[in-house]
Every structure is written in structure tokens, then in C-alpha cells.
Amino acid sequence: MTAMNEAQPEASRQSIAIELEHVSKSFQGRAVLKDFSVKVATGKTFCLLGRSGTGKSVTLKVMVGLIQPDDGKVMIQGKEIDHRDHKLLGEVRKQIGFLFQNAALFDSISVSENVAFPLRRHTKKSEAEIRSIVQEKLKEVELEKEGAKMPSELSGGMLKRAGLARALALDPRILLIDEPSSGLDRITAKEIYDLLLRLKKNSNVTSVVVTHDVTGARKFADEFAVLDQGQIVACGAHDELTGSDNALVRELIAGSET
């Protein structure tokens, strides 16, 4: 088990990609994360489940440094995130790809330009190289013909795939994915999950996925954790959790929408 709420046996630092240690976060007096600890092993796909408002998306934003915890430590690839050190924060973020729930593509530029954006900012590649990488990433998400379109011209599923292509542009070691199937029909959601499965097979990327859709996530997730009231109440492989004593865990693992 690589994720748990209590102190867990010491694993070697190199094999842990993400580690949250006793993290707490409150918003306007309401505790969202309470003494929350989790470790995600390198190359694994870790799935966070829970009812709405239990802090799943907040956990992802804490991992990427968008939200500063009130207490506790966040370690990415062995480096502690320090919100006062903007340079370090920037360097850490370059190793992380983040897919937002609504994709959050920049709406004033085309899909290709969105994918090219991080390459232009953080690499010294030539324009021809950037174009080639953009095309490769768009092909990976099956959007190679949509590059010239504006984000407003894409469907929900296409937006998610374009967001994924942008998140993958710098070949990140870690991928954080917030609700990959929300707002999508079953067929489109399946396409997204197939894409994530392909990605997992083709690369050694460590992923943390927030979702309600356990049935879809079973295809690619190595481990599941159930969040309730700011804490992990259960963690393990799908089969381990199906027999949990906790009714919420059983219900979520059974694949019920919350």
C-alpha cells in the first residue's frame, strides 16, 4: 500500500513521486483536509474517490502548489514545495502535468497554440521542433486534425483531450487529473479512459486521478483511496476495498455515482 492516512513503513525516497505529510487545509473555518498524509509511488496510477466537497480537487491543487496548506509538508520527487521560493515552485511544476476538470484551455489561442505554450515558455526548441511535438501530442490524443480550432469550437470530450495534450507537452513525470469523465457521456468517457490506459502503458508517468467513475478508473488505476471528511478512510487495490467494513467505501467502490 502506498497511500494511507497514518504513518506508513518507510519507503525509499527515490520510489516515491508524491508525498503529503500531515497536511491540513481550511477554508473560512471549514476544515477540508485534516492531518492528511499520502504517498504515491513512482509510475503508479493512484485514484482518489469521495463524495463531492470532500477535498479531492483541493488535494490535487495542494500537490501542484496552487493551494498552500495551513500545515504539513508536500514533497514532489523528493523536493519539498516552498511557496516562498517561486523559482523552485516553477521548476517543480514543469515536472507536473495538470488536467483541469473543464480543461482550462486558454480561450484566446488555438488548440495547437495551447499545446505549444509550455514548450515556448520553457524550452529553447526551434519553431519546427515545437510544431512537430505539438502534432505528436495532438496525435496521441487523437486531435491531430483539430489543432487550428479555437477551444470554443471543441466538444467536451475534445476539450479534455486537448487539455491532456497540453499537460503532456513537456513530458511530465507526474500527471494530476481532475475528474476526467465529468460531464461526458459513457462512450466519450470510455475514450478518455482508454487514452489514459494507453498513456500508462507507454510511459512511466505517475498519475493521481480524481474521479467518481470507479468502473472507468478500474482500467488503469493501481490503487484507490477514499476520502471522507478530509481524511483517507480506506486505501488499496480495488479488490481489497470491495469487502471494506465502511459502507461509504463499499458504495463508492461498487461504482455508484455520488
Binding site: G90, L105, D107, P118, R121
Partner: protein, 255 residues
């Protein structure tokens, strides 16, 4: 009442800190020169035609109004000078700032608020980009750079409007109009300082619009509110600050 006053001064303080942070970050690398240029072009593109048309129309109106009053005193010869002084000393700068506030300021407020509520600003941060420098500092700098240029455009468009109006209503040549208009103008107090003060207007419009957009919340309603408040707050503050700056220039350069 006390609660409202506290909220007001809290709001003013936050905008002040926001503006000071922008000044500090503007001098720290990496410098976003390309994005500043994009924003200057964007503001110019959005506001330039409006400024030219408004300036021309304003010149015509001021010429007609001045003509009516001057004819009463038989002082038609002073009309070109009255138009140029009216435009260059203050009115041109103030009207241009209000136009920029209404067009570009509202646009900046709405655009940043839209980016905030759709998580595009968060997306920038996750891509390792300092969103404050990339979005806020560049837009404030662009406002500071663009407004003096737009003010100059407005003033000369106004002079063109005044010239055409006077050519049609007075027996005056273009050469004489220009000589009368600019002959007695003092370079520093009538042109340089009144145009330079628009840098302050640019900073006010940029800072308020960016603050309201960058800190927006509550979805589509928040976007609308950021846009409207950007125009209202920056326009009022520009007028108040203009009164102070005009008085300051008059103290430095009396007469």
C-alpha cells in the same frame, strides 16, 4: 456605516498593495516584453478608432461652442488657441482616459475575470508561469505606455475636427489656424506635462481593472461585476486624480 468605511479602506488598501506589487515585479526578470507589446497593440486596436472618431467629433463640438461664445465678444481670432489649449492642457487627456477605461479597462477586467473563473489563471501557474507577471504586470505596463500615445492621437484628431469646423464657419486658412492654435502654446506646461500625466491615468486604469479581474470569483456574475466595476472605479479615480494633477502643474507652471 463604520463597517462600510472599513470595507472601503480595506479595498483601497488591497488595490494599493496590488499596484505596488506590480511596480516591484515589473523590474524583476524575466521581463515579458513580447506580451507587453501584444497588450499595447491590443489596447491600441481596441481603443484607437474610438479615440480618433471621438477626438474628431469633440474638436468639431468645441469649435462650434467656442465660436458661439467668442462671436459675442468679437474674438473669433482666439478660437484656434481656445481649442488647442482646451484639448492639450487637460480635456484631451481626461476624455482619452475615460474612453480607455470604458473600452480597454472593461475588457481587461472581463478577460481576467473570465480566465479566473474558468481556471485559466490556475492553468498558467501549473505550467510554471507567474500569472501575476504574465497577465497583470504586462497589462498595467501596456496601459501606461498606450494612454499617452492615444491622448496625442485624440488631441490631434480634435485639432483636425476644430480646423475643419472653423474652415467651414470662419474665413480662415489652415496655415493661420495652425499658427494661431500652436503659436502661444508653452511646450512644458501646455503639452509635455499634461500628456505625461496620462501615465498616472494608465497606471490607475490598468491596476484597478487587473485587480478586479484577477481577484474575481462567483462565475459569470463575477465576470460582469469585474467589468462594470473596472469602468466605474477607474473613471472616478481618474477624474479625482486629474484634479490634483492639474492643480500641481498649475503650481509648478503658473499662468
Amino acid at each position: 456605516m463604520r463597517h462600510r468605511l472599513n470595507a472601503f479602506f480595506g479595498f483601497v488598501g488591497e488595490i494599493g498593495i496590488f499596484g505596488l506589487r506590480a511596480i516591484r515585479d515589473a523590474f524583476r526578470p524575466p521581463f515579458e516584453f513580447g506580451e507587453i507589446l501584444n497588450q499595447v497593440v491590443e489596447i491600441g486596436w481596441r481603443t484607437g478608432p474610438l479615440v480618433l472618431i471621438s477626438g474628431f467629433a469633440f474638436g468639431v463640438v468645441i469649435a462650434l461652442v467656442t465660436l458661439a461664445s467668442m462671436m459675442t465678444f468679437g474674438a473669433q481670432a482666439m478660437i484656434p488657441e481656445a481649442i488647442s489649449l482646451g484639448l492639450f492642457k487637460d480635456t484631451g487627456a481626461l476624455i482619452t482616459a475615460l474612453l480607455v477605461s470604458g473600452r480597454a479597462g472593461a475588457g481587461i477586467g472581463a478577460q481576467l475575470a473570465g480566465m479566473r473563473v474558468t481556471e485559466q489563471i490556475d492553468a498558467l501557474e501549473t505550467l510554471g508561469v507567474d500569472s501575476f507577471k504574465y497577465l497583470v504586470v504586462t497589462r498595467i505596463a501596456a496601459c501606461v505606455i498606450a494612454i499617452p500615445i492615444l491622448t496625442t492621437l485624440f488631441n490631434f484628431a480634435g485639432m483636425a475636427g476644430g480646423l475643419i469646423s472653423d474652415l467651414m464657419s470662419l474665413h480662415i486658412t489652415a496655415r493661420l489656424f495652425i499658427a494661431e492654435a500652436f503659436g502661444s502654446m508653452a511646450m512644458m506646461s501646455d503639452y509635455v506635462l499634461p500628456t505625461a500625466k496620462t501615465v498616472v491615468f494608465g497606471f490607475i486604469i490598468g491596476t484597478i481593472s487587473c485587480y478586479l479581474g484577477y481577484t474575481a470569483s462567483q462565475g459569470a456574475a463575477g465576470v460582469g461585476r469585474a467589468s462594470t466595476r473596472s469602468v466605474v472605479f477607474s473613471s472616478v479615480l481618474v477624474i479625482l486624480v486629474d484634479a490634483v494633477l492639474v492643480r500641481t502643474i498649475m503650481i509648478w507652471y503658473p499662468g
